[in-house]
Symmetry: C2
Subunit: 508 residues, 2 copies
């Protein structure tokens, strides 16, 4: 790879190498988008081969034998670098470390075991077949433990446990000690609060809406919502896919949602959620694009943006008042649709089995349960075979439902662990807290915020996020970002207060 | 690039290297498709950078210092290779030679000059500004001459002129001596035949169809046409773009067409044409995918397939009878639409200025004119400044119209020369002849062919092409392919006879 060796400063050499990596990532990003949104089934084999080749080339570039020496040389001339360049160097090293610390054999074994386990799981889950799933899952877990040990061993000064090293892949900066503290606050108060909300909602009238809701009208509504939330269609697009997601690169943010003719809320919630992710990406500083420090901070901050758009803006009572008439106009059967109805549809709370169907009140308990189990699994304090009992016990304690013998709706419901993605779950709830905390701060800062939302105006929200989160990319650690933006680190009280205010109409 | 050095046989090493190249091409292919079909404007900058990076990596892989030695080693053990492997080795060398024979400076200068000339041409053409265009065009021509000289010098045994070396990029196997012979036959008879056809059509009633023709209905019709022509929508898709094109990879053929609400034929003709290209690609032998010999033969054969679908099948009188009622049913204003009307719309002949708007009867003269001028330009027998006069003289002689002073509709109408793509044009007419010749052979071979077309059945046509052209990929030279398929090499008489039969109702 001779092209990168022509510039002189070691730091600049690294910048060029990482810029090449980013351009390969661009290719992978849009090929993945195409696979999920456009590609016919027949293309799968050729696409998988091409992506594997791109991954191999990216790995060769990143793990090239010259890189450690170039890092050492760059370290020896730190005084010549700006503070931002030093941050970039640090992020380069983190990325390089994550890619080089695992033995090639382990990476291959992990890919094969994860793919096998996930593939079999699709049928095993339907069949409630824990006994069939367990051997595959054990294999995945053993390899993930090995991975976590290697990652910890590579940077023992940063990681106090194997699980901490896994968390760093998703929630960089939010370690297990910190998460335990934040989740501890939630855990001590949320289960009772859930019961209180459920009791409070008992007298609610049930809203039944008659479909069908034609998909072209839903698509138009999603576009309308994106216009309201300030999406630039010269810089991105909306499509449909089985699972909503957001991806893209500089100048081209692509989001998807899913449509169901019997129900229109899911598409709009998906659109609002992915709009948050896409707005973050679109707001990253263009002068640092293609460099590691120019990327989004971590998944906790990312989910903070998406959940802010979905839970704080879209479900806000004032915004519901603004949006409901537009929904009513889109579907003849809903011509008297009110903001109150829209809000009630979005705020129904139920203690139930399935995480992805859970409301914002019960959702954190689904996450805390997974956090407790996966950290114990990775650190060797729990075995794979013990998961169903632990799951049932925690579901009964946290949400009052039992999953005994019901693996399908219990510990076999998620895909994350099947391919070894341990450490991802906490970001969902850290993000929900970050969203509530950021929104609370904006509300205190801007007395007109609710009036603005009542007219569909999100300008001040976007300006605040642009200034305090998006443009800061990865220049600060996640907790420093939250501190600078809101005066304190991620604090569960903001989510608890938000729930009390929205669901029990308590002022705080 | 260490991954490719693990297998032992030099031939196998080369196979692995070319397989990696093919996987990078897959990425480039679908990113180009995305740029033309899906990408918002904002994505252009990042996409251009990513494509440049992929191109650079592909070039590094192909021109790696170890390659010449590996070729030499592979040559020394030819006796261990099958005939097909030897053909593959030959195609690998051709591809390598084409990529390595030009100095890097020349490639860069060519890219810059071509990009500058093409960009300025977009406005200059509209303004009829030959004087403004000429300096840029001179620069492009000088660099193309240099390119052609380098290419010829690299393989003097294969190329008898610089222009021959350029032809090899597009029409590999059909050299200038051969093309001059084929085009000579056309040139001696076609201008008179054109006059005869125009005279014959003077009494034709003019068909005026009242639009608009809603685009969703046109899209459905294009899908219907693709179903009839045997497209597998699990192995590809149809979309819209500014210029129709066909691209893709194994298992995923993507074609586009363009829609105009005032006129429905253009979309259907585009669909039929691109179906020919896509069917060829889909019919290539999957066991040789990702290898050079597994690719389509050349542009003359490729246009042979697309023009066979467009000109021989779609415009066939029997097929028009089959298709017309489906078109009539799609548009309320056309409910009495007949096969005769569809056929007449598709067979209107006019001596006119613009190649891309030309009918199949006059089209070859547009190509012969360009062939004569571009071969003289590249071989140094004509200068850039002389092009307008040569153009006017030939247009008057071949098509009876003058382009004197009308550069816009004369020598400035095409994009090909603006970025240095000399040698491409002949394939269009070689393809038209190949299409007529293949169809004639099938008709003589299968007495039911016209009856089959009258019921929209193209199975026997596709089976014949699959067996005689598509599955043979690049295992034979183009003229050997035509000989094996039809008993002779590309012969202009087949196109002339087709024209006499279709336009003058003469039997042959």
């Amino acid at each position: 790879m001779s092209l990168i060796e022509t510039s002189t400063s070691p730091y600049k050499k690294l910048e060029r190498r990482f810029s090449r990596l980013a351009k390969l990532s661009h290719a992978e990003t849009f090929l993945h988008w195409d696979s999920a949104v456009m590609m016919p089934d027949g293309g799968a084999e050729g696409r998988a081969e091409a992506l594997a080749e791109l991954g191999a080339i990216r790995h060769e570039l990143l793990t090239h034998a010259s890189v450690p020496e170039t890092f050492a040389l760059a370290d020896s001339e730190l005084e010549n670098l700006s503070e931002n360049q030093r941050s970039n160097l640090w992020e380069m090293k983190r990325s390089w470390q994550q890619s080089t610390c695992l033995p090639v054999d382990l990476v291959q074994a992990k890919t094969i075991a994860g793919s096998k386990c996930e593939h079999a799981w699709r049928d095993q889950r339907q069949a409630n077949d824990w006994a069939g799933f367990l051997p595959n899952f054990k294999e995945v877990l053993n390899l993930a433990r090995e991975e976590a040990r290697c990652r910890q061993a590579a940077e023992p000064e940063r990681f106090t446990s194997p699980y901490d090293a896994m968390l760093d892949l998703y929630a960089c900066g939010d370690n297990a000690a910190f998460i335990s503290e934040v989740f501890g606050d939630l855990k001590s108060r949320l289960p009772d609060l859930i019961c209180e909300v459920v009791e409070h909602q008992k007298s609610r009238p049930k809203i039944e809406l008659a479909g069908p809701f034609p998909i072209p009208a839903q698509q138009t509504l999603s576009h309308t919502l994106m216009d309201i939330l300030g999406f630039d269609f010269n810089q991105g697009r909306l499509d449909a896919s089985v699972h909503p997601f957001s991806t893209g690169d500089y100048g081209d943010q692509r989001i998807t949602t899913r449509y169901n003719e019997q129900e229109f809320l899911q598409a709009l919630l998906g659109t609002a959620h992915e709009m948050g992710h896409a707005s973050y990406e679109a707001g990253l500083p263009s002068e640092w694009r293609n460099q590691p420090v120019g990327e989004s901070r971590n998944m906790s901050i990312h989910e903070g943006q998406s959940l802010l758009f979905e839970k704080q803006i879209f479900i806000h009572r004032s915004f519901c008042d603004f949006l409901a008439p537009k929904i009513g106009a889109a579907f003849p059967s809903l011509n008297n649709f009110t903001g109150e109805q829209l809000w009630q549809l979005n705020t129904q709370v139920k203690q139930d089995f399935i995480r992805v169907d859970a409301d914002e009140v019960t959702y954190p308990m689904h996450i805390i349960l997974r956090y407790e189990i996966e950290s114990a699994l990775i650190n060797g304090d729990m075995e794979a075979a013990d998961v169903p009992d632990a799951w049932d016990e925690k579901m009964r304690a946290y949400l009052g439902v039992s999953t005994s013998g019901n693996f399908k709706d219990g510990c076999m419901q998620d895909m994350h662990w099947t391919d070894g993605s341990f450490g991802y779950f906490p970001s969902y709830t850290l993000g929900a807290i970050n969203a509530a905390q950021l929104f609370d701060h904006m509300k205190k800062d801007n007395g007109n915020l609710e009036t603005e939302l009542a007219s569909g105006n999100v300008n001040s929200i976007k300006t605040y996020l642009q200034e305090n989160i998006w443009r800061k990319a990865s220049f600060s650690e996640s907790q420093a970002l939250m501190l600078e933006a809101t005066g304190q680190g991620t604090n569960a009280n903001f989510l608890l207060n938000h729930i009390r205010a929205r669901y029990l109409q308590e002022q705080y």
